[in-house]
């Protein structure tokens, strides 16, 4: 027990400020760790007791917000979800996420990533339903079975942390490629029975730098902290677009208050 209490690891943190053209280097910090100490806890310890200028982005501390993504010991991970004891190493190297423009230290710029996500129109679109409703009696709801929901449920767990995007070898060479996150979201809405804008979304991804540039490395699915399998979504979407796999999508029926 006493050994565990005195245990310390070395934290190597990537430091630079791109706005000031600082040369990049690693700062080393000794951090006391317990069995449950996460990399984020260690970084916050550094900010509190060693160097308050270390730049990190974080929020929920429970793998829900997806803010604290970084490369930890060479693998894109969430700092709040990675326990130091599980890394089984006395030196923990923290670097910013690859494939993202860098801002400062461990903070990267997500603008391009979110723009790819936004391009996929990640919301339910159904031209049979009016969005301008004044009278409450005109409200409608979609009927879905559990099987219908199972088709897209895992893809809706995405927290947009960007780990899959940073692990993707195609994104590394082709920034116009939407990336696994955006493409899996395209599949998520394509498989959703409430959505009927398949053609619009297919036109967006059926481009020179679109879905066909995925070479199925599968690294996106390996790094996802929420258990989403973006590579599966992309392959299913490819199959649907080629007409190789049958998409038994049944547009959900509408139920109004009047015909309950």
């Amino acid at each position: 027990m006493s050994n565990e209490e005195n245990k310390k690891v070395q934290l190597k943190v990537y430091r630079t400020n791109y706005n000031k053209d600082d040369s990049s280097h690693y700062d080393k910090f000794e951090v006391p760790v317990k069995r449950w100490t996460t990399v984020l806890d260690a970084l916050l310890h550094v900010k509190s007791y060693s160097d308050s200028s270390v730049g990190i982005r974080y929020s929920c501390r429970m793998a829900s917000c997806g803010s604290c993504g970084m490369k930890i010991n060479g693998k894109p991970s969430l700092a709040c979800y990675t326990k130091i004891s599980e890394l089984k190493d006395d030196v923990i190297v923290c670097e910013p996420l690859p494939n993202f423009p860098r801002i400062r230290d461990l903070v990267s710029d997500f603008s391009q990533f979110f723009s790819h996500h936004k391009n996929m129109k990640p919301f339910i679109q159904n031209d049979k339903v009016s969005v301008d409703i004044d009278d409450k009696s005109d409200l409608v709801e979609f009927e879905q079975t559990h099987e219908d929901v199972d088709k897209y449920l895992q893809f809706s767990y995405c927290i947009r942390c960007g780990l899959c995007y940073s692990a993707c070898p195609t994104v590394a060479t082709d920034p116009k490629f939407p990336g696994p996150q955006a493409l899996s979201q395209a599949y998520r809405y394509e498989a959703d029975g409430r959505d009927n804008s398949k053609k619009t979304r297919f036109n967006i991804i059926d481009e020179r730098h679109g879905i066909w540039r995925c070479h199925f490395a599968g690294s996106c699915s390996v790094v996802c902290p929420k258990g989403v399998d973006p590579a599966l979504g992309i392959q299913l979407l490819k199959g649907h677009m080629l007409g190789l796999s049958k998409n038994n999508k049944k547009i959900s029926t509408l139920r109004t208050k009047n015909n309950e």
Partner: protein
């Protein structure tokens, strides 16, 4: 011109199809080498005889067309991933198309001359 432009999904279908078909065509081509001792199958008389067999000529032409389409499209995919600009992409597509047509034309010429058609 815009209406002639194929969508990437259509190009991918062609890419997959030519890949699979060329596998079969090349397999038949290799089997032709194995129905007799390998050295004998490549002897001058045998090669000329092959070229005068219309079915073999069709097979050779198919291999030429299938592999050219598949290979040059593969090259286009690799090259358009290297750099991202509409000018580069259009240049690469046009160059690859011209090269593909050139290779098919030159190969067809060789097949036609050798077969004495």
């Amino acid at each position: 011109m815009a209406s002639l432009r194929l969508r990437e999904s259509q190009i991918t279908k062609i890419h997959y199809l030519t890949g699979i078909l060329s596998l079969f065509a090349v397999a038949i081509h290799i089997l032709f080498r194995l129905i007799m001792p390998f050295g004998q199958s490549l002897s001058y008389e045998n090669v000329v005889a092959n070229y005068h067999n219309i079915f073999y000529v069709i097979l050779l032409e198919s291999i030429l067309v299938l592999i050219s389409i598949h290979g040059f499209n593969g090259l286009r995919i690799i090259l358009i991933e290297l750099k991202q600009s509409p000018k580069w992409e259009s240049t690469i597509t046009i160059l690859v198309l011209i090269s593909m047509i050139g290779v098919i034309a030159y190969g067809t010429r060789t097949i036609v001359i050798a077969s004495g058609l």
